[in-house]
Symmetry: C2
Subunit: 350 residues, 2 copies
Amino acid sequence: MIPTLEWTNEGVRFLDQTRLPLEETYVLAKSYEEVADVITTMVVRGAPAIGVTAAMGVALGAKNSSAETVADLAREVKKISAVLAATRPTAVNLFWAITRMGERFEALKSRRGASVDEIRSGLVAEALKMYDEDIAACRTMGDFGASLMPREGGVLTHCNAGALATCGYGTALGVIRSAVSAGHKLHVYADETRPFLQGARLTAWELMHDGIPTTVLCDNMAASRMRAGKIKAVVVGADRIAANGDVANKIGTYGVAVLAKEHEVPFYVAAPWSTIDLETATGDEIPIEERSPVEVTHHGGKQLTPHGVGIENPAFDVTPAKYVTAIITERGVLRAPYYEALQGMVLAGS
Amino acid sequence: MIPTLEWTNEGVRFLDQTRLPLEETYVLAKSYEEVADVITTMVVRGAPAIGVTAAMGVALGAKNSSAETVADLAREVKKISAVLAATRPTAVNLFWAITRMGERFEALKSRRGASVDEIRSGLVAEALKMYDEDIAACRTMGDFGASLMPREGGVLTHCNAGALATCGYGTALGVIRSAVSAGHKLHVYADETRPFLQGARLTAWELMHDGIPTTVLCDNMAASRMRAGKIKAVVVGADRIAANGDVANKIGTYGVAVLAKEHEVPFYVAAPWSTIDLETATGDEIPIEERSPVEVTHHGGKQLTPHGVGIENPAFDVTPAKYVTAIITERGVLRAPYYEALQGMVLAGS
């Protein structure tokens, strides 16, 4: 297991993903504000990891709070939640986790005679439960998804939907891990994933860590590898899935999906149920974070582009459901029509 | 006019494209070996510019040669040609230019009583003529292509098929320059073009130099911009066009072509006739240069990927003719079926 994030007595400890792959260093966030910073600066990233991180942020904030009454703690938790919710807009897991912690707070508060300390402990326990659930969900997704992978050959992934994007096993890379464990001979092609290079840095690092054969490609090379027949399947994660099956994921995912369709390569999305946002009807309603131009214009402190040129840096794009062969969740594998499949799974899960 | 390359009394002078956009420095190649190095290290790049550079390399080698007899000079020119031909494999303009210089040598040699010095001067004159022809061809292509550009809106280009890829006006960017001169209100989206970043560095630099509005995108962002309706046309250059209209161009071009088709955006290729290789039946026969993994793994001296990970770095890909809306040459605009169109233009041009 890769120690993406961990609750400790001193705070939340994160493997610093901005320093990988060459340095394996850790950041200890001792306050909820520091947890928020860790999300904003992408020390931790990946929708499921962001969700659990935010839950731990709420728990840490409550634990550190000097509130002496339940009413004071309620005000604190509300403020903490607002700060954490303002970190990044696209991954719905963030809001899902904060909402769940809020609901847990209400449930704890409503118990007759609950003390401030009992509520604090209950919030910490809830965050730890979400951590465990994430790992269990990824392993279940892995089991469901493994049989969709080819028996042998190349599998393309984009960005990092791995152990580093979750609490330690991965969504898309969890499917690959489970397939490899089940004996599939896979070779992973990892898009480098500009501008932040999550593929080149993180996916390559964690797959090498696990001994899974991996080749890094520039994003623009995937098309020619597909045309050469080297890619048998694509599997990616998601930051938010709308009620109609449209998928928001790392910028470039949509292009990969179009290429997969053109080459008749199956395109799979692996994501926990917490990534599914039934309140959002279609992908067009998903807010897309625009990040700093500096991520595009500079690398390693060096400027790449001429002064003053226009830059766009959307962090995500939306892949319409029609390009998605299947969505792999811990509740099962969904296929089109996704609206009906998702509604059916809500009923089955309730 | 951008001084991409220039014949001088001391040798061939190149704007150093590895230092752009932040430094405008020049490299003077004083021998044919130095000219070969300048091609290999991509101080100069772009198929048409490589062609004229190689011609100047032959002329420079002949000029500097100590040969005292025509037979000695013939041996020298053969050796020089072999060294220059071994620099890069994909751009056919390189071989076209070397062949043309060889034919010119034979023609000069066959003149009764031709002296070694007369042949030397004749070779220099031929290289200078090819330089002038390149600029004229680009301007003619620009005129033919301008009317294919939208009256206003976004035009996507990939890599640099500009002044910096030619002797000073550009093929794809020549079309854009001519359209802008003719009053089209264009906004250029320049793919950054990993790994060598010709778009971010060179296309952005030369379009800003000419005051044409330009936005740099990571390669993986073009798909979402197309889906958003921001791209009205794509125009790229070519390194070699096969007899059936298949186009070898910078890695990533094929992916852009697939995206353009999916979004019903016209996809244009602008290239001089010297890029067309009627000896090569289809794109599958075009040799694709594989460049050093270091271009992918490192940037600005900094390593991006974990030690030991697999890397692929093909410099070019092939776009099948079916994705190409039209090929813009100095002889006219060709449309499918390309085999027939190209053969017809050979007859018309002969």
